[in-house]
């Protein structure tokens, strides 16, 4: 029985009448004036420019600090050393191969994890029975770091790609399923009521109200999931991989090859950032209807 069925469900409010005074935070408005557009003035773009400038400044300062530390006797490669090593790794194709190997693992694990998480999250939010059956497992596995599964995964699944992808899948799945579930549970009850009084039945309410209303939560879950997938990748590659950024760094460690480790770290950081930006862009596109503070 759908959780969202109102009749016979727990009373929605114990004291059914709203307090007078209405909602806080609703701006008083001019009745027929122009709609309250978000300010897109020159002041806004100036602000944006300032932010970008500060971002760039901060990055430059960080690199400068790194350089100072390296020059000051810490066992670090200097930025030029890292850059020249990056040049070598790029020209002999190693970096491209490693990035491709790592990205493939992350993408397969992440896509599978999300693809399973979204329907499971919806089921948990929509059907009380599904929630009761699935939730204990999710809460249990959530407390185990995915990396702790690696020994088991290797014994059970061997040392090829499967255990690595499985661990990444698990990380992405757990992050995304919780947030999808939260999204469904948090759908504004009045919106569901509004759809019902306009004649919509459960299936339509699900497709036309619950799915769009929980999209922002799902996208946040995907971003978190991508973060943990990426975080899990390197550790997964430390074990018995022949290629990949994690393997390259592990290998470099054996030879005290610090510049290569730096190139690996920076590549992981940049790739993670780029992937997050792509999802952020999708989020902006898909959830532009939200009122933001």
């Amino acid at each position: 029985m759908p959780v969202l069925d109102k009749q016979g469900a727990a009373p929605r409010d114990a004291v059914p009448d709203k307090e007078p005074g209405g909602t806080p935070g609703k701006t008083p408005e001019a009745l027929s004036g122009a709609p309250a557009k978000s300010p897109r003035t020159s002041a806004g773009s100036r602000d944006r420019g300032r932010m970008l400038l500060l971002n760039a400044l901060s990055v430059a300062l960080g690199i400068a600090l790194w350089w100072v530390l390296a020059a000051g006797g810490f066992k670090l490669p200097t930025p030029p050393e890292a850059v020249s090593r990056a040049g070598e790794l790029i020209s002999d194709g190693t970096l491209a191969d490693d990035v491709l190997a790592s990205l493939t693992r992350v993408m397969i694990g992440f896509v599978l994890g999300t693809a399973v998480a979204i329907p499971v999250g919806f089921l948990m939010g929509w059907y009380a029975t599904a929630r009761a059956l699935v939730e204990p497992w999710i809460q249990f596995f959530r407390t185990i770091p995915p990396l702790a599964i690696i020994p088991l995964a290797i014994v059970v699944m061997g040392i090829d790609e499967t255990p690595k992808i499985f661990v990444i899948f698990l990380a992405a799945f757990l992050a995304c399923v919780i947030s999808t579930f939260q999204g469904v549970v948090n759908v504004d009850r009045t919106l569901i009521d509004a759809a019902r009084v306009l004649g919509a039945k459960d299936g339509r309410i699900f497709a036309r109200v619950v799915v769009p209303a929980s999209t922002p939560f799902i996208l946040v879950g995907m971003r978190v999931g991508l973060g943990s997938a990426w975080a899990t990748l390197v550790a997964a590659e430390l074990i018995a991989a022949q290629q990949g950024l994690g393997y390259r760094m592990q290998n470099a460690q054996l030879y005290y090859d610090l510049p290569t480790i730096f190139v690996g770290l920076i590549s992981i950081g940049i790739l993670g950032l780029l992937m997050d930006r792509v999802l952020l862009l999708a989020e902006r596109k898909l959830t532009g209807w939200q009122e933001r503070r």
């Binding site: 109102k6 059914p16 709203k18 209405g22 009745l31 919106l191 759809a195 019902r196 306009l198 004649g199």
Partner: protein, 277 residues
């Protein structure tokens, strides 16, 4: 708009058939170990195209009454009849307007207004035509393709009214629709609502906590009392033109005083004030 009450339904016990008939409705909620009686044996008849307002202190069950008529909640005892048939769930013949507007934020004004029509399977051209008509009726033509977030509260509520009208309900159930708006906007929207209503009459049940609003809009004001929720008083408002003159008239002041006393001095105590803690 005068949809005839179903003559085939069980013979009405009253002399004239009521559009809405509430018979001995009781609604209780379990509140921990205690039982909260939101409505206690409430009976009420509303005629076709009548505009009835319901006013009362917090906890008098006025919203519960509306939810029962909307089919969003079921009565514990008694029954709610619309056109002689028992309400068993929501239906497009009963439009509901919520205090929080309840517009779908990812849809434009037009798409919001078309939502119910899509559900009913109305063809695209016809859908478009009807949406345009009702968007124009509430004066939102210029904002048909705007998202709700860009609209003011008053405009959102006008959009919600257009959306409710579009599916062609014979009854409008309005749950403190102007409660979240400032006083100036509220007065304007009251006049616009009456304007819309007089162009296209429906039976209206309008919940409010504002005594002035209750008197200004209604053919009949129903005052409810809390603990348990029940009908306390019924005050008829004469059929006169609803304009500023009426709002400022001595007749209006008198009616307002009468309703005010009913709401705020129930059983000799200041019930509404104590109820609000």
């Amino acid at each position: 708009m005068t949809s005839k009450p179903a003559a085939t339904a069980k013979p009405a016990t009253q002399s004239e058939p009521a559009k809405i008939s509430v018979r001995g409705v009781t609604k209780t909620f379990a509140l921990g170990r205690e039982t909260f009686t939101a409505l206690d044996d409430v009976s009420l008849d509303i005629a076709d195209n009548e505009f009835v307002t319901v006013v009362g202190p917090s906890g008098c069950g006025k919203s519960t009454l509306l939810n029962i008529l909307a089919g969003l909640e079921a009565p514990t005892e008694g029954q709610a009849l619309v056109d002689g048939e028992e309400v068993s769930g929501p239906g497009p013949e009963r439009g509901v307007i919520f205090q929080q507007y309840a517009l779908f934020p990812w849809l434009t004004v037009r798409q919001n207004v078309e939502f119910g029509l899509r559900t009913m399977g109305v063809a695209k051209d016809e859908r478009r035509r009807r949406a345009e008509h009702f968007i124009a009726l509430v004066g939102l033509e210029r904002f048909a393709d705007a998202l709700p977030k860009t609209l003011s509260g008053g405009m959102r509520q006008r959009c919600a009214i257009a959306r409710a009208y579009a599916v062609g309900p014979s009854i409008l159930l309005m749950d403190e629709p102007f409660g979240a708006l400032d006083a100036l906007t509220r007065v304007k929207l009251q006049e616009q609502l009456l304007d819309t209503w007089s162009q296209d009459k429906r039976t209206v049940l309008f919940i409010t906590h504002d005594v002035d609003e209750a008197v200004f809009l209604a053919n009949r004001v129903i005052v409810m009392a809390a603990r348990p929720g029940r009908i306390y008083d019924v005050i008829d408002v004469p059929a006169v033109e609803r304009d500023e003159d009426f709002r400022l008239s001595a007749d209006f002041a008198q009616l307002r005083n009468r309703v005010w006393h009913s709401v705020y001095h129930q059983d000799g105590v200041t019930a509404a004030l104590t109820a609000a803690h």
